[in-house]
């Protein structure tokens, strides 16, 4: 570390940063070192900052420049040589059905179950399957056939539930995957696994990996944006948290920026009264300068992220109002998305926003819809949940398609797991509930180089086990990366001594059959 000439307590000898070791290790060291140094040096930093503004700024700048040239570059799209091959998809939109939608009520049609109403699940099907604490105490596992009818849609003749009439209309645009499966049986680990490839927290999520690997297409908007759908009071809302769009060990620049579902989409983005854009700019310049000196002093790469975040926020002062201004949307938009789309925070509104973000070069948009955790009262809740999401998803895919954006936008619809065919708690003619089920669940993808109008994978007669073309989460994610031009084995980041990647250490494969 370079000692500032004005600093009195000269440190002797080389530091870790001068050693001929792997730059990744130096990077990790710098991050750890920061915390220890911070308290000890904070006072001095302020002193320097003051000095800098008193005229020695030029000299400090010179030092900063010099040290920047010396320090090894962090991995970037440039050094990663990404995309590995010409991508079909430039961007992706992920509709996350948090809670675990019941596959056999929506996509995985099991007509034979009707005759088995309230009979016991054969043990041979369930095998030694682990159960959640919520139904492991049950004395019997009564089969609950779906309450709703199914129809065939599209040229492919896909079976889709009467709960999803709009999804049915786009059957020929989507690839339905009935054989997705996961290793986790509870929400938090399962949702982490879907998003980050690992059940434990601390790993970067898909959007952050994309931001890190592919970079931004529009410097005025975040590369990775997240929208929560408004809570519905009647739903069983599992909490979601910012862990789901965290950048883990990647620089925090790559974390998702979440738009609020009510009020200002981004808080404190507007200038306070009496502060105009020029003043704000001047302030930011000064702050950046101080930050640059902090970086010089502590070598903490997070300082760079902070500078980048301030700059992004500044640009978002103009780009976000433009993004959220729906006044110029033609009437056809409202006909397509429905009147709900006018209400910020609804799923339909978020879908419309996702289309606008896609047009404006946002690389990855994720919309969360919670409430699918139908342990009880599935018959009452599902029509509501489907009613809220069905049209929005259809409108989004259709709108992208008519505007010519579906060719290079991948749309993904998925939850974190499926639900059991047996009823949790009791079962009546009128109602049932379903517990978590990891062994199979249904997802779909559209556009971005995926094959439209197919149904892939099969489950047994109880929608319990995958019998054909299993797609574990890691393969699902490898396929998403593939659409974006990334070889999942090559998008890596060294952390904790391992070349970390989204698909984890178990070999994953791209599901070729889903691709054009």
């Amino acid at each position: 570390m370079k000692q500032h000439p004005l600093c009195t307590d000269i440190e002797h000898g080389p530091t870790i940063l001068d050693l001929p070791i792997d730059s990744g290790l130096k990077h990790e060291w710098a991050e750890l070192q920061t915390r220890r140094h911070f308290l000890g040096r904070a006072g001095k930093v302020m002193g320097w900052a003051a000095l800098a503004s008193l005229g020695s700024g030029e000299a400090l700048m010179g030092l900063a420049r010099e040290s920047q040239q010396r320090s090894a570059p962090l991995p970037s799209p440039e050094t990663l040589r990404l995309p590995n091959f010409a991508p079909k998809a430039q961007r992706a939109i992920y509709l996350f059905m948090s809670g675990g939608p019941p596959q056999m009520d929506l996509f995985d049609y099991k007509p034979k179950l009707a005759a088995l109403f309230d009979t016991d699940m054969p043990d041979s099907v369930r095998g030694a399957q682990r159960l959640t604490g919520m139904s492991s105490g049950q004395s019997r596992f009564p089969i609950a056939p779906s309450h709703w009818g199914f129809k065939q849609y599209g040229k492919q003749g896909a079976w889709i539930s009467d709960l999803l009439p709009y999804t049915g209309k786009m059957a020929d645009d989507i690839a339905i995957i009935r054989s997705t499966n996961t290793d986790a049986i509870n929400h938090e680990p399962a949702i982490m696994l879907m998003n980050t490839g690992n059940m434990n927290t601390g790993k970067p999520c898909l959007g952050s990996w994309l931001s890190y690997g592919l970079g931004s297409m529009n410097n005025n908007l975040p590369t990775f944006m997240v929208m929560m759908t408004k809570k519905n009071e009647e739903e069983n809302n599992q909490p979601t948290s910012s862990r789901l769009w965290s950048s883990g060990f990647l620089s925090s620049e790559h974390a998702g920026v979440s738009l609020r579902s009510a009020g200002d989409p981004v808080l404190y983005l507007n200038n306070p009264q009496g502060v105009d854009s020029a003043v704000r700019r001047k302030m930011l310049d000064a702050v950046s300068e101080i930050n640059r000196q902090t970086y010089e002093e502590l070598g903490d790469p997070e300082t760079h992220s902070r500078i980048a975040q301030y700059e992004m926020a500044y640009r978002m002062q103009t780009s976000v109002p433009e993004l959220t201004d729906l006044s110029k949307e033609p009437k056809t938009t409202w006909d397509l998305y429905g009147p709900e789309a006018r209400v910020p925070g609804t799923f339909a509104y978020n879908c419309l926003m996702a289309r606008r973000m896609a047009e404006r070069g946002v690389r990855f948009t994720q919309i969360y819809k919670r409430g699918w955790d139908v342990h009880t009262h599935a018959v009452g809740l599902l029509p509501m949940l489907c009613g809220e999401t069905d049209r929005g998803a259809y409108a989004l895919v259709t709108d992208l398609k008519q505007r010519g954006l579906l060719d290079d936008t991948l749309v993904v619809w998925s939850g974190e797991f499926g639900r059991t065919v047996y009823s949790q708690g009791g079962i009546t003619k009128e109602d049932y509930g379903r517990d978590h089920h990891p062994r199979c669940f249904t997802t779909w993808m559209a556009g971005g180089g995926t094959k439209p109008g197919i149904t892939f994978g099969e489950t047994d007669d109880f929608s319990y086990n995958v019998v054909k073309d299993s797609v574990p989460v890691r393969d699902f994610n490898a396929t998403i990366l593939h659409c974006l031009g990334i070889d999942h084995n090559k998008l890596t980041f060294k952390a904790q001594g391992l070349d970390q990647k989204l698909t984890g250490t178990t070999p994953a494969k791209v599901v070729d059959e889903l691709l054009l």
Binding site: M217, N219, R360, G361, D407, K451
Partner: protein, 446 residues
């Protein structure tokens, strides 16, 4: 007597420790790995000998030293050659790969010993020419052996890789038929190597002297010349190395990376079997999935020389010229969305120097007008043009008919009319025209 015993033992070594492609006792590898270091000592000493001999004409004391140095060189050579053989055997080198270097080293060592013996008779005035001749031969052999050894460690192309072309042309080099962008090689084989091998076999890392990033490198082979033997997968080292049992230390990709899938292996086998051609577009017995044969991406020229101009224009205009992929020949994407409110025809005109490399022009939401078509027409490799929500009305659309690779044209939310669209019907390659929310809509997508 002693001398002939040493020579005999040396000659026995290649049989006792014959390299067989397997790794052996770790002590052998441990000692063996000092070989690349140890060889430099006898080389240095040997080079010193002629200097001392010539210098000795002026200062006789130097000549006395020459005898001593030569003796040292002989002893060191013996050491180096023993280490070398341990390395070849212990380190699991393939016989064919090291055979030449091994014998050259042995012969060299014996020649040095001979030289030492000859010198004593030369000093006394007998046989006046034999010693200088053998010494010269020793020096030539040193150079040759050293070069071979270098090629083993660093790869054959290490020296010439960055040489100016005229030097490259001097050397023996094989020329290969040119690679066809739609060939099986480009569409099926190279991608397998790209995703599994090039981390260790290209650029700065040339493991086993083998580069796997281009057809020529692949066919040149590595330290073994027989990495690919056309029509004979079983004789091709590359094929052997990818089909070893999973616990075999020589299996490629190495270091515990996942082995190739049976499908990939089948492709490589069929490709080698049927001639390892750079241009053939079919393989008997292998089904090219129709989906994957669809439009291989037309390749653009090399723009690496323009990197600094690209950076410059990106910062002056606030645009992005992103590469489509890590392969430069896939071209550039022009992104203007960050500055769409102010991006105009004049700005587009400034991109003319990069025109042949831009394959995707994303001009949606900008202020470009129908006058932009003249510049767009110069982007001869354009595959996609986005003009949604721009002020164009399509009156100059026919200028685009020269774009023979254009597949995608987005005119949504513009004022483009039906008549204007008729002008681009000659464009047969065009697969998608989007005219949502225009006077021309609805147009059935062709």
């Amino acid at each position: 007597m002693l001398v002939s015993a040493i020579v005999f033992l040396l000659l026995a070594l290649p049989w006792t420790f014959a390299p067989d492609g397997q790794t052996h006792a770790s002590w052998q590898q441990f000692l063996g790995r000092f070989h690349p270091l140890a060889v430099h000592l006898p080389i240095g000493l040997l080079l010193l000998v002629p200097v001392l001999e010539i210098g000795g004409r002026i200062r006789p004391s130097l000549r006395e030293a020459a005898g001593f140095v030569l003796g040292c060189a002989a002893i060191c050579s013996i050491g180096a050659v023993v280490l070398g053989i341990l390395l070849a055997h212990g380190g699991g080198f393939a016989k064919e790969a090291v055979r030449g270097h091994m014998w050259a080293g042995l012969i060299l060592t014996i020649a040095v010993i001979t030289c030492t013996l000859l010198r004593s008779s030369w000093i006394t005035g007998q046989s006046s020419f034999l010693y200088p001749v053998v010494l010269l031969a020793v020096l030539a052999l040193t150079a040759w052996t050293g070069h071979q050894g270098g090629a083993l460690t660093y790869g054959k192309t290490y020296l010439t890789e960055f040489a100016p072309t005229f030097i490259k042309q001097l050397g023996p080099h094989k020329t290969y038929p040119s690679v066809d962008p739609v060939s099986v090689y480009v569409t099926r084989i190279q991608p397998i190597l790209d995703s599994n091998c090039i981390t260790c076999h290209s650029g700065a890392k040339v493991k086993g002297g083998l580069q796997l990033d281009t057809y020529a490198h692949l066919m040149d082979g590595g330290s073994s010349d027989e990495d690919i033997v056309a029509s004979h997968p079983e004789k091709s080292l590359l094929f052997t190395r990818i089909t070893l049992p999973t616990d075999h230390p020589k299996l490629m990709p190495s270091e515990g990376k996942p082995p190739l899938t049976p499908k990939d292996i089948a492709w490589i086998r069929a490709w080698i079997q049927q001639g390892a051609s750079p241009s053939s577009t079919t393989l008997v017995g292998m089904e090219l999935k129709p989906a994957h044969t669809d439009d291989p991406i037309p390749q653009v020229g090399d723009y690496s020389g323009l990197t600094s101009q690209i950076e410059q224009i990106e910062s002056t205009l606030g645009i992005k010229l992103d590469r489509v992929s890590a392969r430069a020949a896939d071209g550039l994407v022009l992104r203007t969305i960050g500055v769409s409110q102010k991006f105009s025809d004049a700005d587009l005109a400034k991109l003319e120097p990069f025109a042949p490399y831009i394959v995707d022009a994303e001009l949606g939401h900008t202020r470009v007008t129908d006058n932009s078509f003249a510049i767009l027409a110069k982007m001869s490799h354009l595959r996609a043009i986005h003009l949604e929500e721009t002020p164009i009305d399509g009156r100059n659309l026919k200028q685009l008919t020269s774009l023979s690779e254009l597949r995608y044209l987005n005119l949504s939310s513009t004022k483009v009319t039906k008549q204007a669209l008729n002008d681009i019907t000659p464009l047969k390659t065009l697969q998608h025209i989007y005219t949502y929310n225009t006077p021309a809509a609805p147009v059935p997508v062709p």
